[in-house]
């Protein structure tokens, strides 16, 4: 039913468009005729106006008529008037009966303007438009008359044989176009139908309908299929959106993990560089950027040898023979004189490979081994020092006893002195060994505290007594500051005494002759406080951070020249911390040093041992 309506509508539409087309055709033709008329009119009027007014009198008038009549130009001419300035007609040709109806005075008024004039008018009781062309005749600069020619446009026949055949051809083409479009439409929609069948699936009952409907392929079933497929597509879209959300969630997690990995690599205390197969930098961490004093953007994709400008490094890192050779050494120690001259780095590099074990780059790790080297050096120095300290009294003992045994000392007094020296050196040796054992016990955590009540005045006087001899030798005065009441604390009195003697002894040892040492005992917040201030050489900031490190001895010549194992302060700080106390130091070079030792009085501050 609907298809029928659509058919009728199609037919009406075709008729309508034909009518419009015809109308357009006629208009175009009319325009062409009038255009032709205008050019003809212009031509004739211009031609006539070139002549002298006298040319149109007498015999020449007949010539003019003949010319007009025998040429093609006269076709369509309704009239031709040539009149002088006063309106007296010289030539009046009415080639058609309508000429008599032309009102003379109308044209006269309209010819006031100079030049060619076109106008058209409709004569009385006539359906025909007259197109008049007029031009003045000038002779020696003066207007002597006017030429006026009226044209009747040729009739336009709507149903000329030529036009009918033309329209027939057009109609045929339109029909052919419609038929072809229809089959083209069906052809074009055939794949869509198949597509829809595909989407709905063979098991779907609707596919049968679709197949049936495809025989009578129309808009309605197509719309239904479209709707179905749109629903289907919506479903798919929802599915894709869910997958998309899932993927972006996973991407977020991956990004987070990547950032996390990057943060880890940046916060790690190692320099890391990853290069590609062409030795260009692909990744560099913050540690390495700080070392190189460069920005990441300046380094990424730059050749490694430009990033680290060090010939030795470039030579060692570019050795490729290590690849495929597991036994090859992938480590070397290096320092960068231009970057960090004091530091030593252990450089390790590994070859990076893809799944096919092909080389794709290198992972280079820089580990600052300066501290380790220093520690190793310190241990080495310490061992040498301890060996020296141990061997010196042993040498004395050995050589003195050898002299006595060989009978080289005959004087009895000297013999006795030698025995005393041997005895004293044996004591010195045992003290040193005891110190070393103490430290090693503290270090191993196996030292047992002989805890008991310790009177602070006993501690104070005991320490003072121990250093008095050395102070006297250097003429160093020791200023004592004591409280009104002496507090008592719980601890190992011998260890505490040894600890404070170490500090007080250092104060005397590292103060030049005739200097002064202040030794103060006080109580503060349930703690016994010992303050030791000297006017000695002082400790540099660099040394200050390491004076409690075992084996460490300052390189200051004033300090290095004094005997010592580098153990005293290490032992002291360990003993104080075993008692739950604290030790602080402040110092100025060439002014002196101030140590503060605070030991808690109460028993519960004691360690388990």
């Amino acid at each position: 039913m609907k298809a029928k309506t659509i058919g009728i509508a199609f037919f009406v539409l075709i008729l309508l468009s034909l009518a419009i087309f015809l109308q357009l055709l006629i208009r175009t033709e009319k325009k062409a005729v009038i255009k032709d008329l205008y050019s003809k009119g212009d031509h004739i009027v211009s031609l006539l106006s070139l002549h002298s007014i006298k040319d149109f009198e007498g015999a020449k008038r007949d010539l003019l008529i003949n010319t007009l009549m025998h040429s093609d130009l006269h076709k369509g001419i309704a009239y031709c008037f040539i009149h002088d300035q006063n309106g007296k007609p010289l030539v009046s040709l009415d080639l058609n009966p309508i000429a008599s109806e032309i009102p003379y005075n109308i044209q006269v008024n309209s010819l006031a303007a100079m030049g060619l004039v076109h106008q058209f008018f409709k004569p009385i009781e006539s359906n025909i438009n007259i197109y008049e062309f007029a031009k003045p005749i000038f002779e020696k600069g003066e207007k002597t008359g006017t030429v006026r020619v009226g044209f009747k446009p040729p009739p336009i026949s709507i149903l000329s044989a030529e036009r009918i055949s033309f329209i027939g051809v057009i109609a045929f083409f339109i029909l052919a176009a419609i038929v072809l479009s229809y089959y083209g439409f069906v052809k074009a929609f055939k794949p869509l139908e198949n597509f829809l069948t595909g989407i709905l699936g063979p098991a779907d009952s609707s596919s049968t309908n679709l197949k049936n409907s495809s025989r009578s392929f129309g808009i309605e079933p197509m719309m239904q299929d479209c709707r179905k497929s749109i629903t289907e597509l919506k479903g798919r879209l929802d599915e894709v959106e869910t997958q998309n959300k899932d993927l972006s969630c996973r991407l977020g997690v991956m990004r987070f993990e990547k950032n996390q990995a990057s943060h880890i690599l940046n916060s790690i205390n190692l320099g890391i560089i990853v290069t590609d197969i062409h030795e260009n930098v692909g990744f560099i961490n913050d540690y390495m950027l700080n070392l190189l004093k460069k920005k990441q953007s300046d380094v990424i994709d730059s050749p490694l040898e430009q990033v680290i400008k060090d010939e030795k490094f470039s030579a060692l890192i570019s050795q490729q023979q290590g690849f495929n050779n597991p036994a090859a050494d992938h480590h070397f120690d290096i320092s960068f004189p231009n970057l960090a001259p004091e530091n030593t780095y252990q450089v390790s590099y590994n070859y990076l490979t893809d799944d096919n074990k092909a080389l794709i780059g290198k992972l280079i790790i820089f580990y600052n081994t300066t501290r380790e080297k220093e520690a190793a050096q310190a241990i080495n120095d310490f061992t040498a020092h301890v060996a020296h300290e141990l061997m010196t009294p042993l040498t004395t003992i050995k050589s003195y006893s050898e002299m006595l045994m060989d009978g080289e000392i005959l004087d009895v007094a000297t013999q006795k002195e030698f025995y005393n020296i041997i005895n004293g050196e044996t004591d010195r040796l045992s003290r040193l060994i005891k110190d070393l054992l103490n430290l090693s016990q503290i270090e191993m955590g196996s030292l047992s505290l002989n805890a008991g009540r310790v009177k602070s005045d006993w501690l104070f006087e005991g320490c003072l007594e121990a250093v008095a001899g050395a102070a006297r030798k250097k003429n160093i005065s020791i200023l004592k500051r004591l409280p009104d009441n002496f507090p008592t604390l719980i601890g190992d009195k011998e260890l505490l005494k040894g600890a404070i003697i170490n500090i007080l002894g250092n104060a005397v040892k590292y103060t030049p002759e005739n200097g002064q040492v202040e030794f103060e005992l006080s109580e503060d917040d349930n703690r016994v406080v010992f303050d030791i201030t000297d006017t000695g050489y002082g400790i540099s900031n660099e040394d200050l951070s390491r004076i409690f490190d075992k084996f460490y001895r300052s390189s200051n010549p004033n300090i290095a020249s004094q005997q010592g194992t580098g153990l005293g302060l290490a032992i002291t700080s360990q003993i104080i911390s075993l008692h739950g106390g604290e030790i602080k130091v402040e110092s100025k070079i060439d002014k002196g040093t101030h140590f503060t030792v605070k030991i808690p009085k109460r028993e519960d501050y004691l360690g388990e041992k």
């Binding site: 040498a384 010196t392 004395t396 003992i397 050589s399 050196e425 020249s561 004094q562």
Partner: protein, 126 residues
């Protein structure tokens, strides 16, 4: 035989200086002593000893630096240097080997062995 031969003892340990001085004087040598490397170096230049006995770990100028400083002097005037050290490691052996007329003696040393080494050197020079 050892008359008028000058021997310089450089050691920061007074007891060791004393026992060596006594031992060598008993053998008829002229003995000079110095308590640190700096004093020792100026004594080498001014007193021109035949033999120098030096500790290695000393204040102001250690035995190693002293040896390196005196090595060029030995090209003009030969003398023996005996380095006494508590511990000798391969690097130390190496640098001692590079020094001219330099030997080492490990602590605790025997004064008799020092005397033997000195006599062997002096005999070799004659």
């Amino acid at each position: 035989m050892a008359k008028n031969k000058k021997i310089l003892i450089i050691d920061d340990e007074a007891y060791i200086r004393r026992v060596l001085e006594l031992k060598l004087k008993n053998r008829g040598y002229e003995v000079l002593t110095a308590a640190n490397g700096e004093e020792g170096f100026s004594a080498i230049e001014s007193q021109q000893p035949e033999v120098v006995i030096s500790d290695i770990m000393m204040p102001k100028l250690d035995g190693k630096t002293l040896c390196e400083k005196t090595n060029p002097i030995k090209k003009k005037r030969r003398f023996l240097t005996i380095i006494v050290t508590a511990r000798i490691n391969p690097e130390e052996r190496d640098w001692i080997a590079q020094m001219q007329d330099t030997i080492f003696m490990e602590k605790p040393f025997s004064p008799n062995k020092i005397v033997d080494a000195i006599e062997k050197y002096l005999k070799g020079r004659e």
